[in-house]
């Protein structure tokens, strides 16, 4: 009798597991796997040659080049400023530090359209700063610097937030030992601090790369979206969908999607590499 009750409880538990697992499979299947299968199969339906032709159309290609170039510059900027910012937040004391620390997350919380508008208000041609810069021949808004600024804003927290915790846990012993032995600050940073932070910096860089590559809301407000000049790939895709050019939208979309997948794989690789490194030490 007792055995039968136990086995019944076990089957109930097993049934519960199966139900939960099915929900997980269904949800990920419907929202992630099926859409990706749908977009890749539509993209390759016309054959590889046709897809390639869509990707290298002059307007699409220009947008892709611009997107990758600006994203590249922005990631470099973010790596430097983000690491510096995390360093200042962890190691130094200054007034309003807590408030500043909390405000780092604001780009995650503020809607991207609002971000774009804020930048136009401040740096646009009608503003004081915008007029001043234009007087010196620098057009920020509706031009490439504006896109850079928008991307830097939306991806600012990534590097800071991935480096900060590592820096907090890092022991100062090695740095102090190096200092006692006469190493300069520059040597200490490049030989001791940077190697420890590298996996975190790379993770932050990969995250801001994928975010910047796909960013739409802030750019659509800030960039002016002039084809062959300030039109990035996400805006190009949107324009092609709106004018029902599904084929050309598919070409660029597939490139962006493949890049996101590559970044995900890279992130997995970095995480595995850094955890191996931790065990070794």
């Amino acid at each position: 009798m007792k055995i039968r009750r136990d086995s019944r409880a076990l089957t109930a538990a097993y049934r519960g597991d199966i139900i939960l697992r099915s929900i997980t499979f269904f949800y990920i299947g419907l929202l992630i796997i099926l859409p990706i299968v749908a977009i890749t199969s539509s993209a390759f339906k016309g054959g590889l040659a046709n897809l390639f032709k869509q990707i290298v159309q002059p307007q699409a290609l220009h947008a892709l080049k611009l997107t990758f170039m600006i994203t590249g510059i922005m990631v470099a900027v973010n790596v430097v400023t983000g690491t510096l910012f995390a360093w200042v937040l962890v190691r130094y004391r200054f007034p309003f530090k807590k408030v500043v620390d909390a405000l780092v997350d604001i780009p995650f919380a503020i809607p991207t359209v609002v971000t774009g508008m804020m930048l136009v208000v401040l740096y646009g041609p009608r503003s004081t700063i915008g007029k001043f810069l234009e007087g010196h021949g620098i057009e920020v808004m509706f031009n490439t610097p504006g896109i850079l600024l928008a991307l830097a804003f939306v991806s600012f927290p990534f590097v800071v937030r991935s480096v900060q915790p590592v820096l907090m846990e890092m022991d100062k012993d090695m740095e102090e030992a190096a200092r006692t032995l006469g190493a300069s600050n520059v040597v200490i940073f490049f030989r001791i601090v940077l190697p420890t932070l590298l996996p975190a910096i790379l993770t932050g860089a990969a995250l801001s790369f994928s975010r910047a590559l796909g960013e739409f809301g802030s750019i659509v407000v800030v960039a002016g979206n002039i084809p062959f000049k300030t039109q990035v790939s996400s805006v190009y895709i949107y324009g092609e969908i709106e004018s029902a050019n599904i084929q050309s939208a598919l070409g660029t979309a597939v490139v962006l999607l493949a890049s996101s997948l590559a970044v995900l794989i890279l992130l997995n690789f970095i995480q595995r590499w850094s955890s191996k490194y931790e065990i070794k030490n």
Binding site: V113, N185, L267
Partner: protein, 292 residues
């Protein structure tokens, strides 16, 4: 100076070296802090102040009238509806997914789990595009619904699906590491004592993941309210029908209705500011809980 230390002449020289070095470090500290804070101001503080000033300039009455137009009210209502649905669904299913990935073993688990991060990496426009292809009137699933006269794209269901996609990882990703850390022992003990799966979850698992769950939910709310690209693509942004708050702001801004755009943007900025504070409080509670 260094040679003097090597000769070991006097302690005063050593102190002089130390203080010289300390002074240089002090300068370095202030320079670095200065650079970091200036960049932060140019990028984040000044723009925040700019939008605040712009809204104040147009005055309170403009603020109220532009927010109380029917289309504006409708867009805010729609944002609330979509956010509520997305948060409810993704909280429940996000928790289920985290439990499945943390507690079960099956073939292809690693693959499924890495797919979970995909919405963070995919461009919102591409996401919206994928859902048009799948749920549009000619899509694989969409054509089936079309035959039953149910519209998904350019209607509310499509907008909810797009929001579900972009916010899918938040809850699951927040809970998953906590569940792994927490381990199975206590759950197994409860099960041995005769608790059902649901009782075990509610009495043992839930209290331990509570703050992680709350953190994931706040992130989901913030992202749902702010989502623009994916929702724009699947909704068509039809006034009084499929226009959410962010879509309305963009529409008014491009139509040079700055007063309306800035008033609504100010509301969203304030809401995100509140959410940000909640996020911070919840995050601190979560960290404290994990330390204990």
């Amino acid at each position: 100076m260094r040679s003097k230390i090597e000769h070991g002449n006097s302690t005063i020289d050593v102190l002089a070296v130390r203080s010289g070095r300390a002074r240089r470090q002090d300068i370095g500290k202030w320079v670095l802090t200065g650079i970091a804070l200036s960049w932060f101001s140019i990028l984040i503080l000044f723009p925040l102040w700019g939008i605040f000033k712009e809204t104040v300039k147009s005055g309170l009455s403009t603020f109220v009238t532009s927010l109380s137009t029917p289309s504006s009210l409708h867009s805010f209502m729609l944002t609330v509806v979509i956010t509520t649905l997305a948060v409810a669904i993704n909280t429940v299913i996000g928790t289920i997914m985290a439990v499945v990935f943390a507690r079960q073993n099956f073939k292809g688990k690693l693959f499924m789990e890495s797919l979970l991060d995909l919405p963070f990496a995919v461009s919102p426009v591409v996401a919206g595009f994928m859902f048009i292809l799948l749920f549009g009137p000619n899509g694989w699933i969409g054509s089936w619904f079309e035959s039953m006269n149910i519209k998904i794209i350019y209607a509310l269901p499509g907008m909810v699906i797009a929001t579900l996609f972009v916010t899918l990882p938040f809850v699951a990703r927040e809970i998953l590491p906590i569940l792994r850390e927490f381990g199975r022992e206590q759950e197994e003990a409860a099960a041995t004592l005769g608790a059902s799966q649901w009782q075990t979850f509610r009495r043992v698992t839930l209290p331990s993941i509570k703050w992680g769950l709350a953190y994931g939910v706040t992130l989901t709310i913030a992202r749902s309210i702010g989502e623009f690209g994916a929702v724009l693509v699947v909704s068509g942004s039809i006034i009084n029908k499929t226009q959410t708050a962010t879509l309305m702001i963009h529409d008014q801004f491009t139509g040079f209705n700055y007063a309306g755009a800035f008033s609504a943007a100010m509301v969203l900025a304030v809401v995100s500011f509140i959410i940000l504070n909640v996020i911070h409080i919840v995050y601190e509670k979560k960290e404290k809980k994990e330390l204990l």
